[in-house]
Amino acid sequence: MLPWLTPMLEDLLVEAALETLVMVGGAAAIAVLFGLPLALLLHATAPGGLAPSAALNRPLGLVVNAVRSTPFIILMVAIVPFTRLVAGTSIGTGAAIVPLALAATAFIARLFENALREVDRGVVEAARAMGASRLQIVLKVLVPEALPGLLAAITVTLVSLVGYSAMAGAVGGGGLGDLGIRFGYQRFMPEVMATVVLILILFVQGLQSLGDWLVRRLRRR
């Protein structure tokens, strides 16, 4: 398929691309699953929110910021005991998903929170005036109204995860970034490095275009 690579390298490349997909997809799915409730909680407990509570909002915000400000490579190593607890091992693609998901959850939670904050307060007030409960406001107003912003946040997170996943090689996570380092850099094979970079660029481009297209579709109405 790629004449400048040996068949063995081609196989490695396909394998690595799949590993990247699994890591990015898995971590993103977990991040959305935990990040959205977290963001809703942050949004609701903020001053002027649906259920303002500084006692909940401050510590929650602190934890999210702490995770976000820890460099990923350090976070990955620092939470090895936790990773072992969750994944049973601290080595491999599956294990790499744990730190990736953790970092992405904190990341996406803030992005989601921003998207929720963009929802016009007047619309929320109108829903209250119509007798909507807080749960109804969250499910029928906040989330649907913020949907374009939420989708944009998912796109940004996916793109960031592609970058983070390159570091997963440090814990034997594999993936395209790992392949690039081991073959392209350490074995002096610039053609492997170039291919890896090219695939990553296509990957990110594809994600971004898909995300943008979805957001545009939603915003148009």
Partner: protein, 362 residues
Amino acid sequence: MMLDQPGPDLPVAAGRVPPAIRLTGLRRHFRGAPAPALDGISLEVAPGEVFGVIGRSGAGKSTLIRCVNLLERPDAGRVEVLGGDLTAEGEAGLRTARRGIGMVFQHFNLLASRTVAGNIAFPLEVAGVPRAEREARVAELLPLVGLAEKRDAWPAQLSGGQKQRVGIARALASAPSILLCDEATSALDPETTTEILGLLADLRSRLRLTVLLITHEMAVVKALCDRVAVLEAGRVIEQGPVFDVFTRPRAATTRRFVAEVIGHDVPPGTLAALPAPGPGEARRLLRVLFAGPHSTRAVVSEASRRFALDLNIVAGRIDAIGARPFGIMALAAYGVPEAVEAAILWMRGLGLTVDELAWEEG
């Protein structure tokens, strides 16, 4: 400060029917604000009445209307709607009560993620009305607000006036008997404002709605309201039937509001151009309100002849509020002091209202 003077046709005044909305001693002081937003407000709105609250921005009118459905909880005071004390309700009771109170907003506050039909159905959905019933109700409401064609349009595709029509249909979806309008026309151009006011007037009589509206435009009050309260610094400084407040404003703020619409202040520069009084002559500036049986009599020329006065008309306007015509005229009167005095008494005797305006150059 000013006494409430409801007209004889208002059931509340006659004590026959309990008010639809009764606010008693509302107070609200926002943290960090130098003055309270509401400083002891009491109001009653009769069933079927359109009651306007007018005030400048910062007068407290937004806080006031948001207290009626307790979007804003007052620090003190009672809010009674249709006989029930909302201030005593818990969250669940409040949600139920709010479903009986429609609200229209200045910025429409439509859900961008829902179509016109979806927006109108929203309050019904929230109340747990089954889908078929919701759709039937939406089909009923769309032509009522003139949007039959726009059922599946998205809010982003609508003009301001159309958005407000959706807002009105949504407010009426759960068939409330009370409608709160929070500056409902303030974001619209004059032509659309007239259109929306017409729609509200039509709906009000067709659905026998009780309407409480807040506005900073006296034209809205003039077009739609039965009674009006003027709000300043969180207090009601004047209230009464719109006709009375328009024709006989008392507080300075009210006069300014009224002047915006019917402009019976003397135009600037007019007085400076008038001749000085002759020796032994008095010169007085009178404002005469013609309303009632003698509004068609040639009062000016008659007074001039009878009392040997020179009457100079410096401002005047004829208008109608709720099909009741009235005229207002500013007259510069020159003559023997006693004759001017006698003319004033004579005009008052005819049932005209004569006030003396200060002779301020400018």
